[in-house]
Structures are given as C-alpha cells and as structure tokens.
Amino acid sequence: MEARMSLDVARIKADFPILRRQVRDGRLVYLDSANTSQKPQAVIDAMAHYYENSNANVHRGTYLIAEEATAGLEGARAKVARFIGAASEREVIFTKNATEALNLVVKAWGRSHLKAGDPVVITELEHHANIVPWHQLVEEIGIELRWIPVGPDGHLDLTDLDRLLDGARVLSFAAMSNVLGTILPIDRLVAAARAVGAIAIIDASQYVPHVATDVQAWGADFVAFTGHKMCGPTGIGVLWGTEAILDDTPPFLTGGEMILNVTKEGFTVNELPWKFEAGTPPIAEAVGLGAAVDYLESVGMESIREHEVTLTGYALRTLTERLGDRLTIHGPAEPAERGGVLSFVVDDIHPHDLTQVFDQYGVCVRAGHHCAKPLMRSMGLGATARASLYLYNDEADVDALAAALESAADFFAF
C-alpha cells in the first residue's frame, strides 16, 4: 500500500471564500484558473492586516510601521526566493505581472545586447507576452525571430532544433502552455541554448503555480511568472535572473527607489534587486504574494501536482466518455505530460456559444484565442473553450462541466 498524500479538496475549497458564492441559483464552478486563480482567505487577510496595521512606504521611513512595511515587502521576497530555489533574494525582482517581467528582459537586456540580424528563437505556443516585445525588437533593431513549431500532439516539434538555434542569441519559451497544457522539455531546451551560447528565458507563468519549481536546477538566465495565477493578488509579478545577468542588464524603468545617488550630472543605480524596482513597489501585493507562497507550501506543491494530474486524467476520461466523437480536446493525451489546462471544441459549436451556456450553470470557462494567436493559427483554430484546473477543483466540478457541455451540445445540435 502506498501512502499517497491526496488532497482534502473539501477542506481546501473552504479556504476560498468566493467558492461559497451562489450564482444563478447554483454554486460557482470555477474552471478558469489558467486565466487567474482564486484567493484563499489567508491571502485576503494578510493584505487587509497589512493595510490595517502596517501601511507605510518602504525603504525610507524611520518609524515602526515603515519598518514593518519594509519587512513585509522584503519578507515576501525571501519567501518567493526560497519557493523557486533562487540562490539569493537579490535575484528576485518584483514587477507588475509576467508581461512586465518579460518586457523588462526584452527591453532592458535585449535592447542593450542584441543587434541587427541576431537570431532570437521562441516557440509557436507562446503567450503574446513572449511574442509582442520581440516583434518590437524586430522593428527597432532588426533581430531575426525564429519559431519552434508545435506538432499535432501538442508537443514541440524539435526536428529542426539545431538549425533553428544555429547562431541564436536567445531562446525564450513557456514552461507550460496556457492553451494546450503541454509541459515543455525544459532541461533539453536550456541545454540546447547553452550549447550555442544563447541565453535562456523561461515564461513560467503557468508552471510555478502548479509544479514545484527550482530555477537553479533549470539553469536558465531569466524566469518570469505572475502572482495572480498562484493564489496571490493581481498587480505583482516576478522576474528571477542570475546575479551575473542582472548585473549586466541596464535598468528598465527609472526614477525613485532604483538609485543610490542622483546629481545634476547623472545617477548611480541601486543594488540588486532594487535597481529594477523604480518607484513605490506593490507592497500590499507583495505581502499577499508572500501569504500565497505560504499557503501553497502548507498544502505542498507535490500534492498539488499529483492532485492535478489525477483530476486531469479524470476530466479527459469523463468528457470523452460523455461527449464521444463530438468533442476534441487539444494538447497531450497523457496527463503526466501536461498541466490541467483543457482546450476543447465540440462539433462546430463556437466556443463563445459554449461558454455562454456554461454560464447559465455557473460554470466559468474561458473562450477565445487565449492570447496565443500564432498557436491557434498553426492548429487551424479560431478559438477554443478552455477549462483549467487548480488545487480547489474536484471531480464534482468536472462533472458540472460535463453536464453543461452536454446541454450546450444538445442545444446547438443541428
């Protein structure tokens, strides 16, 4: 007998006040955590406690509550650093979200290190946040953007990897697809980048919330993720970078906080990580993110991943059994190779119509292109419906989705 630590989802659900909400005469069935996650009471309380007791600006007050605020911000940084296996807190930069973190890399490091014709390699399954900033460098500098294709199984097609990486300066990729759930071969990609002397950038927005992360083991140069998808508040994201590369990167936004000295002639930048944190930082949000990290650790990232693999398997089976040939679920078929992100289409029914019907059942699912239009185009799709699972979802949530799907499929049948 294995002693499996399975999650007590009923208890976890009770930690999330919004999941007690009734909508349209039924319970809220929240299946859109790849979009944003819900927040546990502990996070909400930590932020309220901060505002009620310690609100002050950081790094400059000489009074008690200012010290508390600074300790709150820096304490959160320490928690995040430990959570992702950073070598030190100096490597953890707070941003507004993952989008800003990636823009920081592209615009501060990219602009100062890349020149016309330099190849930058990304994949077809990237979120627009890891595409559009590079498009800007194509326009501004004339870098060459290359794409690793995605195969019909939802995995990268690495056949031409060597040719694509030939001469590359950068390889930037998502750790987990926000559309297909695919977990990318992170170690292989980082090693391939290293082999040609390219830097490796990982967009871990969909990974860090769901799978235990060790950035040093990955060995990349930069890793970006966002607080609101990991039970934390909106308004805060993280850029991790090695000290070496952060030291070699000029500041991005500039102004207060990020300087050591300013004269009429110029300025001296602050030390890491503050060099990259211009202006008053998101203090309450950092406190909330720290509480989210505590919460996720108290549940255990291994248990969360195990729960999601099991539930993803249940969802793949249940939906396929109940909808049969009418349903197509995109992405890897094997739960161990993917996260709990299920993109699907039913017959010819447009995803917008599906999710409109779901809403009648209180089932929250996203429809659209999920900010990954190049991927959708390469799969020949305009849009999908996307249900995404997290630690607070259970089989009853999947069953509610299946029932809503059947009802929508019947309604639009023709």
């Binding site: 349209r24 447009h350 995803p351 917008h352 119509d353 409109q356 019907v357 009648q360 429809a367 659209g368 292109h369 239009k373 959708m376 305009g382 849009a383 009802s407 309604f411 639009f412 023709f414």
Partner: protein, 164 residues
C-alpha cells in the same frame, strides 16, 4: 435554454445554421474588408460588389460565434440590392439598436441624445438581435460584421469621390 431565450432566438439560430450569402467575390473588382474581434478571435471578411451606388452582391467569409455569424448573414440579406446610402442608414439603425450611437463612437461628448439622428428604419429580422443588448460582451460579436461593412462603404465612397 432557460435564461438564454432572448439571446438565441429561433431566427438567429436559423441564420447561424443556414448562413445567407456565404462565400467570396473576386476582389478586385469587388471591395473587400476584414474585421477582427480581439476578444474572442472572430474574423469576418465582407466582399461587396457595387455598380455605381447600388450594392449588387455581397458575400461573407470568416468564422465566428452564432451571434456574429447570424448577424452577418442577416446583414447581408438586408443590404443586398440597397444603395450605399441606404446601407449606411441601416448600419446606423442597427448600432442604435445595440445602444451604440455614432456620436459616442466619434468621441464627442455630451449627453447621448435619444436616437434623434437615427433613421427610423424597419430592421425586420434584425430585430431578433435586440436581446443581445442584455449580454454586453456579445454586442461586439453582433456588431463585428456591421463595422466591417461600414469600412467597405467608406472605401466605396472614397473611391467614387476620387477623380478617375
């Protein structure tokens, strides 16, 4: 579907299942314009053949949800054979029904007047789309083809005002 009867009226579903004027026209000579809904990825292409000021033929291509597709289908049926000016009035009337008034779109401020400048037109089947107003996110779906049509009409007018 309880709660959705105002949105999914039978006539809307009919146009969705049997779209009128679906296809393409050779362009040129036909005018062509593309519209995108960045929210959900819907894309629509309107082809319009106009001899002088009359809309001789119209075709709709692209893909989208039942609301955007049926709205496009009804629109194509409504403007075929009409003059460009009449089609413009229909665009205005339809958008007014969707609670969008042109002066708001133009960014002029001031209280929204009660459709004083909106022509009283018989919208016919299009009236079925009135229920969309209750579902704000879907208004963009319903108006996508109309905005695209408006672009084509602009193109026709600027082409005809250009000296040959």
């Amino acid at each position: 579907m309880p709660g959705l009867e105002d949105l999914y009226r039978e006539i809307i579903l009919d146009h969705y299942r049997n779209p009128r004027n679906r296809g393409e026209l050779e362009s040129p000579p036909a005018h062509r314009s593309e519209g995108f809904n960045p929210l959900c990825g819907d894309e629509i292409v309107v082809y319009l053949a106009a001899d002088g000021t009359t809309i001789d033929d119209i075709r709709i291509a692209g893909q989208g949800c039942s609301i955007s597709q049926s709205s496009a289908s009804m629109m194509s049926a409504a403007v075929k054979g009409k003059t460009v000016a009449e089609a413009r009035d229909l665009v205005k009337a339809f958008k007014a029904m969707m609670s969008i008034h042109e002066h708001e779109l133009d960014g002029e401020d001031g209280a929204p007047e009660p459709a004083a400048d909106t022509p009283e037109l018989k919208l016919g089947d299009l009236e079925a789309l009135r229920g969309v107003v209750k579902f704000p996110v879907r208004i963009k779906c319903a108006t996508l083809s109309w905005n695209t049509l408006a672009n084509v009409l602009n193109e026709i007018e600027s082409a005809s005002s250009r000296p040959q």
